[in-house]
Assembly symmetry: C2
Homo-oligomer: 340 residues x 2
């Protein structure tokens, strides 16, 4: 627990070690997080997502440097669904990221999933908390925005940036992948390429007609499960305050990250969104939903652990064999296991 | 239950209605699946995944037609993480798919996720079972192969195809997205483009050095959770039979799906993999792991449902507020809810 205190005091080595402990999900992780938790809640979290090749990492780089120049301390978490083959080595982006780590006010953490993205979705909020408690003002969480889980990681942010490239309607990746609806700000990066203006126009048009979920831009994912919709319903009365006029209309910003163009506009759009959250109920709503989702994840895991302690492996193997032999269907098998 | 019998007899309208019922997760779904289940286990399931734009749908089209020409009945399930905006309408692929539906031996089902991919991952195995019970010999499951969940859907197949396009090392999407490791056959589509040969060579090189997971090509995902690794360990003794020599070395096949080129080679590679599964333990292993994963999903949901029945919403709201106020951390909150 000395380690925790050192991390909170801002010791970089302690922070790095603490994150490693949390990532490896040691038994003491809950105790560590309990100690950290009272120090959290001050950082502003920005999620950055987009298809491979959209230039996310370069953009994150520029954002981090800009915030740093403004005197803010910046934590960067790059969540990377890297193949076990490449180990991230083929991504030159990571190398560039490491340069960023030499800024005194910037802390960079690259998390490679190595085929276990579920684990990442689980530990990323905890890593965010460590950096939050360690006094980083801004935390940038970068994920590859093409799958549901990656999107969920990004969604735990206060402001979500979806990074796009110029392309025709059919080629716009964020539309194809269905991630546009979580965007608070859409960044058309590589805007020096042909078609940038048209891409921005298409995105603007789509965003102006989109429906907002529960007035907060948060989709109740099936993943985060049953608690969220139920509590949201319970708290539903409060939501009606969110009208057309008070709900956020996502901005579209054009950038050329490699040359630093448009970064000032992007910072401005992020700040506008932050102001919006603070002056409406959305700030509290997002915080509540995020915490609820975290609690639910812990619950799911603990429930399963409890069950596994009760079920005999012999019995489990027997049940699975019955299902294999089609004497039992998977639903009935689950019921048998539930009843011991 | 007349509907179930009609579907099993091959009535297309009954099949379509049954799938709709299962997708909407009505209360009777478990009973329906229990009735269907004894009729399943005959179909060969092929998963097709790859980045947007790789030409997956055209390839699936060609495969379906080819199998049809060989006198086989083919079911196609296109899982589409389509944005709520587009509703799939921007994808011309879907239109082409509908043409395919006019072949008497082909049944096409397009499942749009509309922001709820978790639900898709849950219902896709059930939809596969319906088509299996209805007598379709081959079932092609197409997903956008860029996220973990999409990959898990594909992984429930007997043979997994990963579709790639010609590109440089840095551009190979399946490497970037980390999906190469689930491939039994890698298809380099659009092979009339520059660099096809080099792309195939890079992929061959990567595949020749890759490690195999548990000798079966199946990654124990964190998602499918705790049961799998535990039972696999329990059954571990049997696994040692899987040696270097008997394990499958993924094939790389070049195609130009729009012109039907390379489709015969692809059919051949799929058949080789099927033979491999049948002559080794992998066939049974894959079936066992898939069923185990299904049982676990049902268990997780049922456990959460049971808990939700026990927890008072007042109490839940109170706990969440304590966490928001940082009087309680998320782990401690979960423990409180578990103890009633």
């Amino acid at each position: 627990m000395e380690l925790v205190q050192a991390a909170i005091a801002g010791d970089r080595r302690a922070i790095a070690r603490l994150i490693t402990l949390i990532e490896s999900e040691i038994k003491e992780a809950p105790a560590i997080l309990a100690e950290i938790y009272p120090y959290t809640g001050r950082a502003y979290v920005i999620g950055i997502t987009g298809a491979p090749g959209s230039g996310k990492s370069t953009l994150v780089n520029q954002l981090a440097k800009s915030y740093c120049d403004l005197g803010r301390r910046v934590g960067v978490i790059a969540v990377d669904a890297t193949s076990p083959f490449s180990g991230g080595a083929i991504l030159g982006d990571r190398v560039r990221m490491r340069d960023l780590g030499q800024y005194p006010g910037v802390f960079v953490r690259s998390m490679a999933s190595r085929g276990n993205l579920g684990g990442l979705a689980r530990t990323t909020p905890a890593v965010v908390k460590v950096l939050d408690a360690a006094g980083y003002d801004l935390i940038l969480v970068e994920t590859v925005g093409t799958g549901q889980l990656e999107v969920e990681i990004a969604r735990t942010a206060h402001t979500v940036l979806v990074v796009e490239m110029p392309g025709t309607g059919d080629e716009i990746q964020s539309i194809k992948a269905g991630v546009l609806e979580i965007a608070d700000v859409v960044v058309v990066n590589k805007s020096d390429r042909d078609g940038a203006e048209r891409t921005a126009a298409i995105l603007e048009a789509m965003l102006s007609t989109r429906e907002r979920w529960a007035g907060s831009g948060l989709v109740y994912s099936d993943h985060s499960g049953a608690l969220l919709p139920r509590l949201a319903k319970y708290l539903g009365g409060e939501k009606s305050s969110m009208t057309e006029e008070t709900s956020w209309r996502p901005r579209v910003v054009r950038t050329v990250a490699t040359r630093g163009e448009g970064i000032a506009d992007l910072l401005c759009a992020i700040e506008q969104h932050r102001q919006h959250l603070l002056t409406t109920r959305e700030w509290e709503e997002r915080n509540r939903l995020r915490l609820l989702s975290e609690i639910e994840q812990v619950l799911r895991r603990r429930l399963m652990e409890r069950l596994l302690h009760q079920v005999e492996l012999d019995h489990l193997a027997e049940v699975v064999n019955s299902v294999l032999a089609r004497r039992l269907d998977p639903y009935a098998a689950a019921e048998q296991l539930l009843c011991g």
